[in-house]
Amino acid sequence: MISPKYIELMNQELDGANSPEQTRDLEKYLRDNEEAQTYYRELAMALNVFEEAAMVDPPAELFEGIVARLHPDADFLHQTDPARNGPGLWAACRNLVRFRPVPAFALTFAAGIACGLLLYAGSSWLDLRHGAELSGQVSGTANHRSWNQGVVDEGEWHLAGSEGIYRVHQDGRTLRLHLEIMATRPVVVRFNHDAHLSLQHFSNDSPSPSGLTVSDTLVEVNHQGTGSYDLEFLQDAKNRSPIMMSIHAEGRLVHTKSLNASNAEQEIAH
């Protein structure tokens, strides 16, 4: 049973709203209470999922729709000098709307399709995440339907006492994770995954790896100094979950990130 007082402190800690005293109190409580540690980690991961699900783009025609409702004439939007530039594209489009409603609808529809295709093509190459502490470029993920080969997720973190980069490379069902860490204080990097992923290979180029824990659903690296790690996972056809990477320093969860893992079923389907 976790005390409601500490649930409140955990929530406030995640918002950066605790006083130093409250943080110390919470840290002490977490050290002594495994159930609370798990709760805190799960809560942080859940919020990370929320913030990672970046904003969606509104329908392409929404802006024009709002402006059209606000100003039916909409002349001021694209003011042109008829003497110099002729009637202008906007005026020409307006004339289409005014006199030929069917072609104008078709034009809007076609423009919507074209924008959608452009957005789709663009998103295959670059997906900027919203508000995340970790910045990364994501390309070729499962939702973009072009993820068979290559880097599917990469990024970096900069925290007090540790920084690093990670890269997830996919080759069919094989996911290769490369991690480079520079840490002045001991850090624990934990990769939680589901049973549909299995660790096939692990190697490190670290001067003093102080510990490695591997189970069916967890790989945990204890690290200090500068070093790199390579992990290779094999995913079965049912894999649908990402790998959750979490970084812990001094017994505290300091960051989480879900790494994109792809789905072999989708690979076959697409």
């Binding site: 809560l43 999922v49 606000l70």
Partner: protein
């Protein structure tokens, strides 16, 4: 004059209609996303966004420039969203009315798994919890501004937010997304 929200709102109050269009361009996406996370239907979210801007346009003379423009605008959008949710609820209470429309795959703008997990988790919350968690974690607003938008004390914001997070955690665990 710099194009801050307040300057644009003042310009619009003084008759410059282009200024309001700039505000639409600036806030169309966050307003749409707030509504979309609340009603989980792109068509309804687009309607709410349109209505919110039209109302803001009509009521701009009531905007007090000593407050933040986007808080004022979000307040209008949040009220519209809650009105729509209540209308849906009332409609369902009458037998003769058709059932609420079920979102089709085309309504779901997010094809990724994370988005659909999130929608399921939001479904498990009541609308008071949902709006607070959306304002906090999608728009990244501080407690005080959420309190101002929703017209509730900061303490209530916190308690709704913490219970929303509890539901979020529980649902994502249930779906196997958080372990």
């Amino acid at each position: 004059m710099a194009n801050t929200d307040i300057h644009l709102a003042i310009q619009f109050q003084n008759g410059d209609r282009k200024a309001f269009t700039m505000l639409v361009a600036r806030y169309e996406k966050p307003i749409f996303n707030t509504a979309y996370r609340m009603v989980r239907n792109a068509e309804d979210a687009a309607d709410i966004t349109q209505i919110a801007f039209v109302k803001a346009f009509e009521k701009i003379h009531t905007f007090n420039p000593s407050f933040k423009f986007f808080n004022w605008l979000y307040k209008i959008a949040v009220n519209e969203t809650i009105n729509l949710i209540n209308r849906r609820k009332r409609r369902r209470e009458f037998e003769y009315d058709p059932p609420a429309r079920i979102a089709s795959p085309e309504d779901d703008l997010e094809l990724n798994e994370m988005g659909s997990y999130l929608h399921k988790a939001l479904d498990a919350m009541n609308h008071e919890q949902r709006i607070v968690i959306v304002l906090k974690h999608l728009l990244l607003l501080p407690y005080a501004e959420i309190a101002e938008i929703l017209d509730i004390p900061e303490k209530t914001v916190k308690s709704r937010l913490f219970s929303a997070r509890h539901v979020l955690r529980k649902e994502l665990i249930k779906q196997g997304y958080v372990r």
